[in-house]
């Protein structure tokens, strides 16, 4: 891992520079999709901390993404709050939700962890769907304005907002990369490989898992804040089970435990979903086939397949 880090750093820089360089010549639709990919990549990477590095498959990760998005939507439409307040409020809401849910979920392992996170995700979905006075229920909250950062370029334009999202994604990659490469991140991998061994070695396994859970929730919240601004609209769809599973697919497709793999997985799914739905109404059918195909033919994700070939 440590050995490969310079390579990854170079890779990220090249891809980011390439994207930044090409962006001004792209038509607005692909540019919008690229922006969406950046934002969703943060969600996928946050889930990778949990699934790939700690070995905890969360089936309710959309919950933290969603509460942050709702926080931004409510604050901007009801209170006309500014970007900094919304950013902090969104991330803190997600972190607090994760801290609360983590207390319940971390006790369980394996399938039970999966089921409990599913149930906790449904709690949030239920509130989004039914607590109409706060969330407007099924209709969702529309009219979230783009943030005003006091810059000379308005973020209403697709190009400035793309650069803004790219910068945010880079910040997330940097922070998450530092976390997973730190001694703490190494301990998480140790827990993934053998929980009992780490316990015998004197590590506080529960605390490590709990912190990983909160970190994952916090970054999912960051992604959710950006999503609310990007989409301008937040609804129960953003917190539903299928959204959580889609995040799992992105991680599985890219390769769990590689951080950048899930980011690539996110980009692929975003483009696939949007392009396929342009050409055919049957895109759910194709997406379903992608789920099954990934599991059958690339069980370790694209990063795994690539790695196997190169070694």
């Amino acid at each position: 891992m440590t050995r490969r880090r310079p390579g990854m750093l170079v890779g990220v820089t090249v891809v980011a520079a390439l994207a930044a360089g090409v962006a001004p010549w792209l038509p607005s639709y692909p540019l919008t999709l690229l922006t969406q990919a950046m934002i969703v990549a943060i969600l996928a990477m946050s889930l990778d901390v949990l699934l790939g590095f700690t070995g905890l498959p969360s089936l309710g990760h959309a919950a933290y993404f969603g509460v942050a998005a709702y926080a931004v939507a409510i604050l901007t439409t009801e209170r006309q709050s500014g970007f900094v307040l919304c950013l902090i409020a969104g991330i803190v809401t997600a972190a607090v939700t994760a801290a609360l849910f983590g207390l319940i979920a971390i006790r369980a392992t394996g399938t039970y962890f999966l089921m409990i996170t599913l149930a906790l995700g449904m709690v949030v979905w239920g509130l989004a769907f039914r607590w109409v006075s706060l969330t407007k229920g099924d209709n969702g909250i529309s009219g979230v304005p783009r943030p005003d950062l006091g810059l000379p370029w308005s973020l209403w334009g697709p190009l400035p907002f793309f650069y803004f999202s790219l910068a945010c994604a880079l910040v997330a990659i940097l922070l998450l990369g530092l976390i997973v490469a730190s001694p703490f991140g190494m301990s998480l991998k140790g827990i993934r490989e053998s929980e009992s061994r780490m316990r015998i070695l004197g590590y506080n396994v529960w605390l490590h898992k709990y912190l990983a859970f909160i970190i994952a929730g916090t970054f999912a919240g960051f992604s959710g804040v950006l999503w609310a601004y990007y989409n301008g609209f937040v609804s129960p769809v953003d917190v539903q089970l299928v959204t959580s599973v889609e995040a799992l697919l992105m991680v599985a497709l890219g390769g769990p435990g590689t951080l950048l793999g899930p980011a690539a997985g996110a980009a692929i799914i975003v483009f696939l979903k949007n392009f396929v739905s342009v050409y055919t109404k049957r895109w759910l059918l194709i997406l379903g086939a992608v789920y099954i195909g990934v599991i059958l033919f690339a069980p370790r994700g694209l990063a795994g397949a690539f790695h196997r070939r190169s070694s």
Partner: protein, 287 residues
């Protein structure tokens, strides 16, 4: 508003909904118990069962034929899914989750393709229409019928599991699959049968439920969380757990919707989270 009549009627409604949930969730629980598969396509069996039943009712006019056809057709789909796909992923929880959700998406789209996006309702047979009156209260016959069906299915399942040789084998496989295989029980065949049975029950629930919830796109993902809550609360792989869980969820859901409409899902999922916090394996489950 909160009179004794309110309590009786709401309790009755909760019980009948719980009975329907039992048909859906008992299969899910058994499937998990034997195979440790988290089947996110289970709600799709319910929805597809409803659609197949609908088509059969339109052609034949027979409700019994609809239930039978729905159960058999979807049972076969379940068997094919297990034999051809899920069997390749033993012990891979994440893989199973992604694969079953993949199937759920495909089923959802196929249903939309075949039956369109309009909501339908399966007509209730004449002898189940109307209501039974008791003083000022009236209980719809069809809801009583659902409760009776669930009680009969529960009794049959319990007898089969507790009193027959196959049932003993299933219980052995739930307790320890490897050990069961070791003493000569054919666990793969057993898994196939249990998976088929689970799909059958869910589909039968879909046809029966289609007459009072309706048959519509999205029903799959609407009932799925309920089935999971039942199974989680009751404990994975436990039949008594599925019974108690279904009733509990049916009642909680019904009273939650009647008393606190804004927080109704919360009143369902929050007690479940609480139960899990205290007993991570559910009320009747074993680690």
């Amino acid at each position: 508003m909160v009179s004794s009549e309110f309590w009786i009627i709401q309790t009755f409604n909760g019980l009948s909904y719980g009975a329907l949930l039992f048909l859906l969730a008992s299969g899910l629980s058994l499937i998990f118990g034997v195979m440790r598969v988290v089947n996110l396509a289970h709600g799709s069996y319910f929805m597809l069962g409803g659609y197949v039943g609908l088509s059969v009712v339109w052609r034949t006019g027979s409700f019994a034929a609809a239930v039978l056809a729905g159960a058999v057709a979807i049972g076969l789909i379940g068997i094919a899914m297990e034999r051809l796909f899920l069997r390749r992923l033993p012990g891979q929880t994440l893989g199973q989750v992604l694969m079953t959700i993949g199937f759920a998406l495909i089923f959802q789209d196929l249903a939309l393709l075949i039956w369109g996006g309009d909501p339908y309702s399966i007509p209730v047979p004449r002898f189940l229409q109307g209501a039974v009156r008791a003083g000022a209260l009236s209980f719809p016959t069809y809801r009583i019928f659902i409760i009776v069906v669930a009680v009969v299915v529960a009794a049959l399942l319990w007898l089969a599991l507790d009193r027959t040789r196959v049932g003993a084998r299933i219980r052995a496989a739930v307790d320890d699959g490897e050990m069961a295989q070791g003493v000569g029980i054919n666990v793969p065949t057993l898994s196939l049968a249990v998976f088929g049975l689970g799909a059958c029950l869910a589909a039968a629930g879909g046809v029966i439920g289609g007459a009072f919830l309706g048959v519509y796109p999205g029903a799959d993902f609407e009932v799925l969380p309920y089935a999971f809550v039942v199974v989680i609360v009751g404990g994975l792989g436990s039949l008594p757990g599925a019974m108690v869980g279904s009733l509990l969820v049916g009642l909680l859901d019904n009273f939650g919707k009647a008393l606190f409409p804004e927080l109704s899902y919360f009143t369902l999922f929050a007690p479940m989270a609480l139960i899990l916090a205290l007993r991570p394996t559910g009320l009747f489950g074993r680690a």
